[in-house]
Amino acid sequence: MKKQLFLGDEAIAQAAIDAGLSGVYSYPGTPSTEITEYIQNSPTAQKRGIYSKWCSNEKTAVETALGMSYAGKRTLSCMKHVGLNVAADAFMNVAMSGINGGMIIVTADDPSMHSSQNEQDNRTYGNFAMLPIFEPSNQQEAYDMIYEGYDWSEKWGYPILFRITTRMAHSRAGVQTREPKVQNPIRLEKDAPMKYILLPVIARQRFKALLKKQKEFLQASETSKYNQLFGLSDSLDNENMNAAHKKCRLGIVACGIAFNYLRENYPDGFENPVLKISQYPLPRKQLFQLTEACDEILVLEDGYPVVEEQLKGYLGIGLKIHGRLDGTLPRDGELTPDSVRKALGMEVASYYQTPAVVESRPPALCAGCGHRDVYEALNEVLREYEGAKVFSDIGCYTLGALPPFRAIDSCIDMGASITMAKGAAEAGIFPSVAVIGDSTFTHSGMTGLLDCVNANANVLIIISDNETTGMTGGQESAATGRIHSICKGIGVSPEHLLEIVPLKKNYEEMKKIIRKEIEYQGVSVIVPCRECIQTHARKAKAKNKNN
């Protein structure tokens, strides 16, 4: 079969389809979004009846995936790194229960924060949950490791955490696909029906089971073809080593795509022993071989110094380990072929420099976007109040932080606008305003609104409704057309639950409403509602084409 050009995300999606997937459960988030979108648009996936609708958030996604796995079918759940924080409760406990049908959870980490608020490394979560982690080094491995991963997951009875980073997610390469497998039928477990009931008495047994399983996970890592030792012969096991064999100054551990940057710098073959790691827990046997043969170890890994810390230990006495902790590599930001080159002691040279005349060009809200109108009206009203604070959230409207608006004072995590506004109001801030989008509201804002209603907090909440999940490219929003009724159901007083169309011609009315609701001592919700101009234009284009 001819190779196909796939983004890392697309390779994962195609592999899951080919491995007999029955459902993908995700919430959009850069750089993970394209995995689920690929499955949504795949004719094969449609033919196979693979469920692929977006979920309200990452927690509902992982839980729903577990439900499908419970029934014996293969399932996938994809999210950006911070999404796993939202799903962490489900994630930690699915490690306790274990699974039935194969289950893979993809975390797309974003070192360098191309499109995120932090660069947390979710291999930490994998270690925390004591689950196997797969971290492919290239698009072909991403395909192969997903394709084979489902068999492993079912054999072990545990989910796999599949870790990629932005560079893998959004880079294309030729990928060879494999024979599609048949989907699992409903197939319930006969002998372990209690494992999903995590009452303490059962949970204690399940934890012992998870601890016992670690040996199997480790064996799989040590025999994995994705963990490879270069430059040391395989027969060299540690019993046969002695001081006389210590001949290499430096051994290199390269995790995931860091391996590519290493190879880039040694086009004619490595000069040092190298251990490539793409499957965790860390392969002890190979690490022993490497450390026995080398005086010092350099660890190359994208994200946090997770492996480096494990090898070094807290006190750092013992092995001499270089990496992000001792300054051999920068502590933050994604790796590049150049940072790796420098760490290897080779020269990095640019002939030209970026001239000083080049100005930065930050992203901005689109011309004609409804969020613009919301911020313009809001800014004008808030100029009348000294001490007004605007707590915002994750989405396109976060760009309201930049000129010309400079309209917001915070952006922390999904849903934090409403709850921070409540806390600030209770501390005495007035006016305390929250600005949140419709998709972020249904993801994590609704419970915060309930807190506000229960406390009768003196807040104005603006749900800037563009009827889509805009920042990630215009995916379906969970409650389009139902934001008003959700707020009403949560208990917002109907007199203080107002809708408006954010357009220039409505400015005076918008300002009047905003002013009035600021003055109201209690919970007000204003829903400026106008479709995202990007999705609007796309729909108009599709309609023209069909006519």
Binding site: K2, K3, L5, T30, P31, T33, E34, H114, S115, R167, M168, H170, S171, R172, A173, G174, I257, N260, Y261, R263, E264, P267, T336, P337, D338, R341, V348, A349, S350, Y351, Y352, Q353, T354, P355, V357, V358, E359, S360, R361, P362, P363, A364, L365, C366, C396, L399, M471, T472, G473
Partner: protein, 192 residues
């Protein structure tokens, strides 16, 4: 052969379409390739870039090392310069000369041209105008690809085939329009 290409522009200008055409052409020529691109937040009118690497040997890194790009293809004259630290000494720069001014402090064109004067190998063309003159104002990115075609190490016929594959589903008319744009771009670059 091995060509490392930096594609640059402003979100929405169409650098990913250029990348897609080169990608198809590279696959057809049985070459290895990796192409790293930008999605998400930076697409909203911010600067965007893509690293495209094609070679007859497997490609290791998704990113091009500093100082080693063979060519910068850019849809915007200031964005070209943003990536100069990637260009190798005798590398080529092929750029659209028409500024995309969505920031208030956009530099004066003369200042930009001064920087271009220091570069040994360059093609500076108003590809937007060429596209307009062809009667297909939205094909500026394909004109630019045509202008870069002598320097990327892939047969022109393979690029034409790439155009056919990428635009096939939009109909024969669109395919012809883009082939025209590609050829016009090449002609202008050669005569440049």
């Amino acid at each position: 052969m091995k060509t490392d290409i930096i594609l640059a522009g402003v979100g929405g200008q169409g650098i990913l379409s250029i990348a897609a055409v080169i990608g198809k052409a590279a696959l057809e020529a049985d070459l290895y390739m990796k192409q790293s691109e930008v999605h998400g937040m930076s697409q909203r009118g911010g600067d965007v870039q893509s690293h495209l690497r094609i070679s007859d040997q497997p490609v290791a890194s998704d990113l091009i090392p500093l100082g080693s790009a063979d060519i910068i293809i850019s849809l915007e004259p200031m964005e070209t310069l943003r990536h100069l630290h990637y260009l190798k000494k005798d590398g080529w720069v092929v750029t659209n000369s028409k500024p995309y001014e969505n920031i208030s402090n956009y530099p004066e064109m003369e200042k930009l041209l001064e920087e271009y004067n220091r570069l040994p190998n360059k093609v500076i063309l108003n590809t937007e105008q060429i596209a307009k003159d062809l009667g297909t104002p939205r094909s500026g990115n394909v004109v630019l690809l045509g202008s870069a075609s002598p320097y990327i190490g892939i047969d022109f016929a393979k690029l034409e085939s790439g155009i056919r594959q990428i635009f096939e589903r939009k109909g024969q008319e669109i395919v012809e329009m883009n082939l025209n744009a590609l050829r016009a771009g090449k002609k202008c670059a050669v005569e440049h």
